[in-house]
């Protein structure tokens, strides 16, 4: 491990390097190791005698540097992915269910409460979904149609988000009305669907926008928005915002205004 150094590092340094480098992503490990071997070596061979042989103050830096690289690689791998989105929605779902659980007192009461509201939920959810699809969904032109698997995955992701958003909206509407359900049941019955419709419409609108702004291949959020064209050229040339897939699967061109020759967004696969 210290073969490239003019003199070997102390055992403690080498042990720490050995364990810390396990945290560093494989692609960056050799560079990181080389960097820290050099830093520690220089720390031990400083000319000023008062600082010589005192590398302990570098240890926190070494460990935190390795941890930062580890966290950054996880962040890069999951940032904007469909799995992260579904994971976060699931967390929100659990959080939305907590007040309901606290109010009902036990899981038995909670599970008794949910089936009694299932019919109402299905009715409200169907109506809201139909309205949202009729008003909120947009078509995206594909230069070349995506593979069947990608299209199926995208539809599954949209459906999963839709279901989660609707359940979250329903739970939140119950959270807000349940506290005064016993005192004013009639008012609660009237207010709850209104809360649900309001939250669900907002949620589904977000769902469509989020779906539009994702790569049609890997479903990762598109990034690096850049303006293309000039507003004064609206009827002559492209005037749009282009978003790129970080993994290079393609770009989405979103027109600034709807024209007869450019009604919808355009996905150009790489």
């Amino acid at each position: 491990m210290t073969s490239s150094l003019p003199s070997p590092l102390p055992v403690l340094d080498r042990t720490l390097l050995y364990f810390a480098c396990k945290l560093v992503p494989l692609a960056e490990r050799s560079d990181w190791l080389r960097c820290w071997q050099a830093e520690l070596w220089h720390r031990h061979h400083l000319r000023s005698s008062e600082l010589r042989s005192n590398a302990i103050d570098l240890y926190p830096g070494l460990v935190r540097d390795a941890l930062w690289l580890c966290a950054e690689s996880i962040r890069m791998a999951f940032a904007g992915t469909a799995s992260l989105c579904l994971g976060l929605l699931t967390i929100v779902l659990v959080l939305a269910g907590m007040p309901l659980f606290a109010f009902s007192g036990s899981t038995h009461t909670l599970f008794g409460l949910l089936p009694s509201n299932a019919g109402r939920f299905l009715c409200e959810a169907t109506l809201v979904t139909l309205v949202s699809f009729a008003t909120g969904s947009r078509t995206i032109e594909h230069e070349s149609p995506a593979a069947l698997v990608s299209r199926f995955r995208a539809q599954f992701f949209l459906a999963a988000k839709l279901a989660l958003v609707l359940i979250i909206a329903f739970l939140l509407s119950l959270d807000m009305t349940l506290p005064f359900h016993t005192a004013h049941p009639f008012i609660a019955e009237i207010i709850q669907p209104q809360f649900f419709v309001f939250i669900a419409l907002l949620g589904l609108r977000w769902n469509f926008q989020d779906q539009d702004n994702r790569c049609k291949h890997c479903l990762r959020e598109l990034a690096s928005p850049s303006r293309v064209g000039r507003p004064s050229w609206n009827f002559l040339d492209s005037n749009s915002t282009e978003l790129l897939c970080k993994d290079g699967h393609g770009l989405l061109s979103v027109p600034e205004i709807e024209t007869s020759w450019r009604r919808s967004s355009h996905w150009i696969a790489s």
């Binding site: 150094l5 003019p6 080389r34 050099a38 830096g61 941890l67 000039r230």
Partner: protein, 118 residues
């Protein structure tokens, strides 16, 4: 075409302003040290008085944000002095603009770090 450059210039200024606002005292201090030609993580630790656990991750973040770039010392130079090559950091053009606006924001920053002696 001029309008295009003007818009781009405004975007760059906006980016710098945003970056300067987001910059913590620590990051501003590290950038200031780099702008004064302190190049190594260890040197920055000494001159700023910041612990290694703060300096090295901050350097990584600054590099990710393209305010700093790092490279390796020439191998020949290191061999000549019988020591291993070290990674050194340099402030980028964007970093210089950010440190300039940070110095305006934190005037004491200019006095905290002495110029590096050649």
């Amino acid at each position: 075409m001029t309008a295009y450059y003007v818009v781009n210039f405004i975007y760059v200024l906006h980016y710098i302003a945003m970056a300067a606002q987001r910059l913590s005292h620590t990051a501003a201090l590290i950038l200031k040290a780099l702008s004064l030609n302190y190049r190594f993580g260890f040197e920055i630790m000494e001159v700023t008085g910041l612990p290694s656990g703060t300096v090295y991750p901050a350097l990584r973040r600054l590099e990710r944000d393209k305010l700093v770039q790092s490279d390796w010392e020439p191998e020949a130079e290191a061999i000549e002095h019988a020591r291993p090559a070290r990674r050194y950091y340099q402030i980028t053009k964007a970093g210089k603009a950010v440190v300039l606006s940070a110095t305006e924001r934190y005037p004491l920053l200019a006095r905290l770090i002495p110029e590096k002696q050649a």
